[in-house]
């Protein structure tokens, strides 16, 4: 079983290496190889299912294997594979959705000049993600954490000729890096405390059973939890490090689907679930985590309401849903968070791929421009692209949590988790349900219903391109994900997760509340925006908050101000310090000293051999005198 896991682990990196080594000039072979490799990984992962479920029932999980990578006295760093329900679930999500998106990309990225590079980067991403999933210790997690950041950077900035794309890549890389500093801090603090008890370890299982954990002071435990959480904040784009995710939509749409909706951003949630036994030890940490998630989900949902770029809307929606998962974990409902992670991976990947299909066909990302196509005729787009539209609507329903879609089940669990928290938290969570339905209603209304106002930003682009359905390689993933989004709730996902709180029904109160909120939001969204008329709304009841929302709560502006006024000054001071002290006094000073000493000393080299002999003899004489005076006293 572990051998197969190892094989799954190795295939993507082998493929990435193969593509980089041999297939850069043969894009189609590269694409087929990568897709086939991913698919084989998925099949192997699937083949493990009976064994895993069996072991899960026998409570024989986790199984673990590792080699010692760095073995010093008192410091052992392993490199290993840990398989339990949690990592198996993530494994299925990564390889399964990965396969679909690889397949989708074969058409979507067709004709791109860097086709091979795209698949190499995707494979590298899959490898890094599997590294996190399989990791059995914090250091390995951290290493692959960084690798995931790197491959995300490569893929966001994939179209590096576009300045926004390369800027977005940089922004994502640097922002997540801020979180990673905290994560490193948390790891080191934890290890330091345990090492002080002479039993430092990074291994998850060893940590879980570690008797020394309780001996760590409460404040340190909180700091450790918050440090590790910071890593998750960066990767899962929680407030205040969320600013990179919407910009990351500059990357190709399949990347947005795979990395920035389904898997990578979920890594933060996965990490929180993995180290929950550490977070649990400090109620303060859990409290902060829960509130961070709540605030993120609310803010992001609010911002999503005013976006007009389809991918940006979905990106903010992702933020909002990630906030949900983090909140659930903060409330101690790990299984709810992980369950929502899985279903969210289905429907959000679906929505992104659907959006990609629309973009592919209509050559625009603005929902108003998309809607402009169906200006005259009712449901024109729907008729032209039935599969994409149907699956998109399925994804929308799942996102809103309409029964019996997958989103319904997981959202119920999330709301149950929120209900167990403070009143305010539950109100926020319920508001998000409404807002989610509202912006999805707005989106659907704009795309599918005919409008009255022509808001095309450029000259009718669709006169040149009659929209049509893409080929099967894009449709198949849509169909598969559509089915999963609808029925995912009935899959045995929860069997894989720890039953921390036992599965409880939300009760009819929750069901009615969420359904009515979602229905109201959706209808309101469709009604308000069915004519593609934003002006009515912006001059109306939402005029003031609108500025706040369009400026995204001024997070980016605040960061810009901080960077300009604080970081720039610190940097220019450091620059000055570096120029004067390090370069002039340090480097150049030493060089000047050496040069001066050299030019002085070379005057000793008279070239007359006898002078050398004289010095030599004088030295010899001196030695003899020392010897004589020593010997004779």
């Amino acid at each position: 079983m572990l051998t197969i896991a190892g094989l799954i682990f190795a295939i993507p990196i082998l493929i990435a290496a193969l593509i980089c080594g041999f297939l850069l000039k043969k894009p189609h072979a590269a694409a087929r190889l990568a897709t086939a490799g991913m698919f084989s990984c998925f099949l192997m992962a699937l083949a493990l299912a009976p064994q895993i479920l069996d072991l899960q029932h026998k409570h024989a999980l986790p199984v673990e294997t590792s080699v010692i990578w760095i073995g010093l006295k008192g410091l052992t760093i392993e490199f290993g594979i840990l398989l339990d329900g949690l990592s198996y679930l993530m494994l299925l999500v990564v390889t399964g959705i990965g396969t679909l998106i690889f397949l989708y990309s074969m058409t979507y990225m067709h004709g791109d000049e860097s086709y091979s590079r795209f698949f190499a980067s995707l494979s590298l991403f899959a490898f890094s993600m599997l590294g996190i999933v399989f990791s059995n210790n914090l250091i390995q997690t951290f290493i692959f954490w960084e690798l995931v950041g790197l491959s995300s950077y490569l893929l966001i900035g994939f179209w590096y000729q576009k300045p926004e794309a390369s800027l977005a890549g940089k922004k994502a890389f640097l922002t997540t890096r801020v979180g990673d500093v905290g994560m490193m801090f948390g790891i080191l603090l934890l290890w330091g405390h345990l090492a002080a008890q002479n039993s430092g370890t990074f291994n998850f299982m060893a940590l879980k059973a570690h008797p020394g954990l309780t001996a760590i002071p409460a404040l340190s435990m909180t700091l450790i939890g918050l440090g590790l959480f910071m890593g998750a904040v960066g990767k899962s784009a929680q407030v205040p490090l969320h600013v990179w995710l919407p910009d990351a939509m500059e990357g190709p749409t399949p990347v947005s689907a795979l990395i920035h909706a389904a898997t990578m951003v979920a890594a933060g949630v996965f990490l929180l679930a993995r180290i929950f036994f550490l977070l649990e030890l400090s109620p303060t940490t859990l409290h902060i985590i829960a509130w961070t998630g709540t605030v993120t989900s609310l803010l992001a949902a609010l911002i999503a309401v005013v976006q007009s770029d389809i991918k940006k809307i979905l990106a903010y929606s992702t933020l909002s849903q990630l906030g949900y998962m983090v909140m659930a974990i903060g409330r101690g409902h790990v299984e709810a968070g992980m369950f929502h992670l899985t279903t969210h991976a289905f429907f959000k990947a679906l929505l992104f791929l659907g959006a990609g299909s629309f973009i592919h066909a209509l050559h625009t990302q603005s929902i108003w421009d998309m809607g402009a196509y169906g200006q005259k005729k009712f449901l024109a787009l729907f008729k032209k692209m039935p599969v994409t539209s149907l699956t998109f609507i399925a994804g929308t329903l799942a996102l809103m949590g309409i029964p019996p879609t997958s989103g319904f089940f997981s959202k119920e669990e999330i709301l149950t988790a929120a209900q167990s928290g403070p009143q305010l938290m539950f109100i926020c969570a319920a508001t998000v349900v409404f807002l989610t339905a509202f912006y999805m209603g707005r989106l659907s209304g704009a795309i599918f219903l005919p409008g009255t106002i022509h808001t095309l930003q450029h000259e009718d682009p669709h006169e040149l391109h009659e929209p049509h359905e893409p080929d099967w390689r894009m449709l198949l993933p849509l169909a598969v994900l559509g089915v999963l989004a609808l029925i995912g709730g009935f899959l045995p996902i929860r069997d894989l997760l720890p039953e921390a709180h036992g599965h409880q029904d939300g009760g009819s109160f929750l069901l009615i509340l969420s359904l009515s909120l979602a229905g109201a939001g959706f209808l309101l969204g469709i009604l308000l925006f069915r004519n593609h008329d934003e002006s009515r709304v912006s001059t109306g009841f939402m005029a003031v908050p609108r500025i706040l929302l369009e400026r995204k709560f001024f997070f980016d502006d605040a960061y810009d101000w901080l960077i300009q006024n604080v970081q720039e000054r610190v940097a220019s001071f450091c620059d000055l310090f570096e120029k004067i002290v390090v370069v002039e006094i340090g480097a150049n000073g030493i060089a000047r000293l050496a040069r001066g000493a050299g030019s002085t000393a070379r005057k000793l080299q008279t070239g007359v051999v006898q002078f050398y002999a004289l010095v030599f003899t004088a030295g010899l004489g001196l030695l003899i005198y020392l010897f004589v005076s020593g010997r004779l006293g």
Binding site: R602, L604, Q605, G607, V608, Q610, A613, L614
Partner: protein, 100 residues
Amino acid sequence: MIPATHYLILSVTLFSIGILGVLIRRNILLILLSIELMLNAANLNLIAGSAMHGRLDGQLSAFFVMVVAAAEVTIGLAIAVLLFRQKNSVDTHEIKELKG
């Protein structure tokens, strides 16, 4: 018998005179001659040592030193001849290629 100390002092004196020659003479041939003087001072030392220990090994060492000196002289002189041919001088002050 003459005490060993006397021979040693004689040897040291000759050796120092040899060094003096090496240090102050400008003609490279005379520097070579001074080196020969130093070698022979060392030989005297060896033979005195041989007599002190009542063994012949020191004398044999002196013999070998002589052989080495002969080889050294041939090469030294060849170099001197070459130098004279190239620089038309055997004055050490004319030969300053090592000057920094």
